[in-house]
Symmetry: C2
Subunit: 400 residues, 2 copies
Amino acid sequence: MFEARLKSFFEDAGDGTPSARVVRLLRERGTLSATEIARLTGLAKSTVSMTLAELRRSDIVIEKASSETGRGASVGRPATALMLNPKVGTCVGVLFGLEAIQLIVADVSHRVISDRKVQIEPDYSPAEAAALTRRLIDEAYEEHGLAPEGRLGVGVAVAGPINPVDGRVLRASGVPTWAGTDIRATFGPVLKSPIFADNESNCAAIAEMMWGAAIGVEDFVFFKIDLGVGGAIVNRGHVVRGIAGSAGEFGHMMIDPAGPLCRCGNRGCLELYASARTALADTERRLGRPFDMDGLVALARGGDEPSRRQIAEMGEAAGKGLAIIGTAINPALVVLGGRMPLAGDMLLGPLSESFERHTLVKRAEIAPEARTRFVPGVFTDNDACLGAVGLVLRHHGRPG
Amino acid sequence: MFEARLKSFFEDAGDGTPSARVVRLLRERGTLSATEIARLTGLAKSTVSMTLAELRRSDIVIEKASSETGRGASVGRPATALMLNPKVGTCVGVLFGLEAIQLIVADVSHRVISDRKVQIEPDYSPAEAAALTRRLIDEAYEEHGLAPEGRLGVGVAVAGPINPVDGRVLRASGVPTWAGTDIRATFGPVLKSPIFADNESNCAAIAEMMWGAAIGVEDFVFFKIDLGVGGAIVNRGHVVRGIAGSAGEFGHMMIDPAGPLCRCGNRGCLELYASARTALADTERRLGRPFDMDGLVALARGGDEPSRRQIAEMGEAAGKGLAIIGTAINPALVVLGGRMPLAGDMLLGPLSESFERHTLVKRAEIAPEARTRFVPGVFTDNDACLGAVGLVLRHHGRPG
DNA sequence: CCGTATTTGTTCTATGATGAACTTATTAAG
DNA sequence: CTTAATAAGTTCATCATAGAACAAATACGG
């Protein structure tokens, strides 16, 4: 029932009418009060009030149950929390990982309705991915009684940079068979939805910005330490994509011209030193059985010196890379994502020490509020998939 | 006569009234047609028309002499070029260099009225700088019959990062005696004007964006190769300053942990390999007489192998640094500033070759329009000082 | 328990930005 | 030389937006 009207809001780019701006803001933020909406849109309180009256009458905007409302301990009349009516629409986020596909369905009030992960044969093709995704989406919508017509879009997180103008995968470092794929053309007809595609690290950064460790922070760097090293740059609240879509590929910054060959073809990439891949291979060789990151961390926690040293060396290298990034970009915040930061101080101690040693402006030289803060990410495993949902909720223009 | 009215436009932050927006846009851009103003402000043609009628009646906006108007070879009624009345106000830009102060006075129509440079004893203090600047400004205003009350602000370009919140110099790599100086507090009372301060590389980037090689480009990196190496990042048309103001300090990205000690205290900074300082010192030692960059380039042009090799090595190192920046930021454009790019292909050949070798995404892999373009800067010696004028013309909020 | 301070949210009217239709100024084509 | 096409700039009635004043809902201090 909402589709026709909402579609007009949803497609409205630019500043648009107050209604469109209010709906867009609620889509981005989830829950807000009328006063916050006025402040964030720059509209007058009176305009927002009128607009909200109309939107509430047509049931597009509803009040959040007061029990869920954050208990404001401040004086003054308490704000009524508003959100989009969940029935107004649903968003899908998909992450195409190395050997698994994760799919999250959420409604426009930011509530996650379904979250599942299925294994898939490595080196699967985009077409296979599209077919499987279609099945997963249909199953999820069926299971939860959701109307397919209410689907506002599908966000796609891919393990490689995507050209922001033509929407093609540049080089999928994680899934090489995807190079050159036109995501919109491949997935649009199969999924019968507007498609919003982005790199998985960019998606993860969006998740941290919308719901995680970077809420309210407009300038930060997301730095992922996992099997590989990746990242994203957020400036003034926008993900920096770069002219070819490859911004934030921190793992392939060259830090030693004489270093070993990287899978990207260059030598001495940061990833070779700061990711878990090398350490895992070493450990497997040393102990004669396969290891994942949890296993490596457990081993180190158990007191195994070689793995402790390896994790420390990863931190040391990551800190060096972050010092280079910090010198160039000087972000307010670094969010450390991926699974390795779960190792805690074993990794983060050497990391911050190394950062401090290699950075231009030393901690002691500047006021505390001018220092780059380091925090672990809130999401570890489903950051990219959540961010793909965020892509749909946040989009301001046409699908892309 | 204009001061009172203009001040209200000038101080108006945020979106403001149509008049304020039109005046601000003209201040930033210099010359525009009514239609361009409508497009750039997002206001309706009718609104712009009414606003301009008012502004022209009060002589704040005037027509540019048609002879100067760019001969548009297109069909349709030709646009009338509009600009702010030069009498409306003047802006000053000052650059505090190692051993010279440069001062440019311009009016709000973007015409340079005075441009001069005076030598000063190295290691001069901020107070001395303020006193001398005061004298230079008074002389220039006297000489050209300008009213001091019409001065809208003084832009200050400093050879070191400036904390964007408190306006203090972090560490003046070029002029170390300035560390900790509060620019506004030091210069404001002496110059009796609003002060707008920024790092010299940020200023240079602004000059290239407003009048130089980056006109119309919203995402670019400015990379200076001179006695030192510096730079700036522009994203979505805004200079990225960073939380402490030290963004863009490319010269101190660490590229070799085992490298020699840098004047910043760290080891193996890019500047040690990519700036002219080392090469000049070597050449001076080798030939037993002092050299500047022009001399080094002339020597190399004359066929001197050692200096050719040194310039090529500088290019090689700069390309390596730019590859790191490109991998992290992936800008649409790199503007090469400073005096070394005047060496031409001797430097730029090895530079782009090295960039290509060390970068993640290779030229051949992407569409031409997705490639990072390299261009030399339009200004070499007065980029920073012009940019300081631009700081005043462009400012959107309070002095800072 | 009650008034004061404080913040949220609504009502109403004057204003001012807008869009549609129009005029003006030019190039290109017949 | 006339007409069509194109783009710039203007005029004016209309309606959406904003500002000020007001109403509602809470905390706090005495």
